[in-house]
Symmetry: C2
Subunit: 191 residues, 2 copies
DNA sequence: CGCCGAGTTGAACTGAATCAAGAAACGTGG
DNA sequence: CCACGTTTCTTGATTCAGTTCAACTCGGCG
């Protein structure tokens, strides 16, 4: 719980009392490796803070291939924001890639927080704008960069990822095949 | 002005009085073709509703090529949301591709609205979640679809674009060269 | 021990980029 | 309103990044 409070305070400077109020409605939930926090077709009803562990979100494309849309690591939030806020069925799965300890906030509790805590509104706005920014950055990298540049960028920004998750998930996150990722890795060792 | 009010009411059902209050701070501004609503380096300070006209947002990639990141048409909002909400310099240009009539809301006026009008908070949240959704859809289409599928999709969803803006901008929006777009167009005529 | 998922590698193939040239449309000044 | 220069768009030839598919290795696990 302290970890979540510290995280909130680092996003938005708040007194300990306010910060504690903000997180009061989060409930502890654990997931074991390979279990699902969300399945396609469900309305995402929970906003999770990940205390330990790592997750991925993925969807299926038209030909039935898995596409990894996001990774969620320790000290960050996991959720399908679209499904969560627009109250519509998700097209994604969110799966635990390791055993995970999380803090869960339900949609209703979040609404309560929005109504009763102005700071929570601010926090929410900051978080969604940040998510928008991440998505936009990734979007631009897909438009502008080669596979090699995207690989190099991810390796630089999230070196831990390569130690924690199977390469095939990383490949589909980068929008390339696992063969190509393997070749990129080989090439980058030589340099 | 009535157009803006109608737009607001269609996003969020509201009484005429409330809707009018929501848009009270918007000011009319016109732009002529090829002028800029925002330049890279500036902090985006205005949220524009486009009554007539069409705009595009673009940035430069590492090699100095223009990349069109978005189009904004009549009856929608134009802004660099990241720069606007995070109060940091934009990396994009927003340019009028035709003469435009707009309604402009400044950052400060938006904050006022957020504080004084709960409905505006709701409206704002809906809009940013919708923008997030659009970006995510485009992101997925970049990951999953071929150039041809993306072209077909855009043609289906925004046929008007092809009549209003130069193809080279559409090409860079799709993440392809103008040569390739030209060939795709030729191929799709044959079918 | 044998199997299975994860990763690597090779060879052939392909979608899209590049580069360069030409045609068509556009707008600007005389 | 025409002439000229500038974009815009098309097209061809070539190249290249990344895919596909299949074979093979390796490490873990039942």
């Amino acid at each position: 719980m302290e970890q979540l409070i510290r995280y909130v305070q680092q996003v938005l400077p708040l007194s300990p009392a306010k910060a504690t109020a903000l997180v009061a409605r989060f409930k502890p939930v654990v997931f074991e490796k390979n279990s699902y926090l969300l399945q396609a077709g469900q309305i995402c009803n929970t906003y999770y803070f990940i205390e330990t562990g790592i997750l991925r979100a993925y969807a299926y494309d038209l030909e039935g291939n898995e596409v990894t849309t996001a990774f969620f690591s320790e000290n960050s939030f996991a959720s399908d924001l679209l499904s969560f806020f627009q109250r519509e069925p998700s097209r994604e799965y969110i799966q635990a890639l390791s055993d995970c300890r999380t803090w869960a906030l339900s949609y209703d509790d979040m609404q309560e927080n929005f109504h009763s805590l102005p700071e929570f509104r601010e926090f929410g706005r900051l978080k969604i704008v940040a998510s928008y920014g991440q998505l936009k950055g990734r979007m631009l990298s897909m438009l502008q960069e080669t596979a090699e540049e995207r690989y190099a960028g991810l390796l630089k920004n999230s070196p831990g990822l390569f130690r924690q998750v199977p390469l095939k998930y990383i490949a589909s996150y980068l929008g390339i095949t696992d063969s190509t990722l393997s070749r990129l890795r080989k090439a980058s060792v030589k340099k």
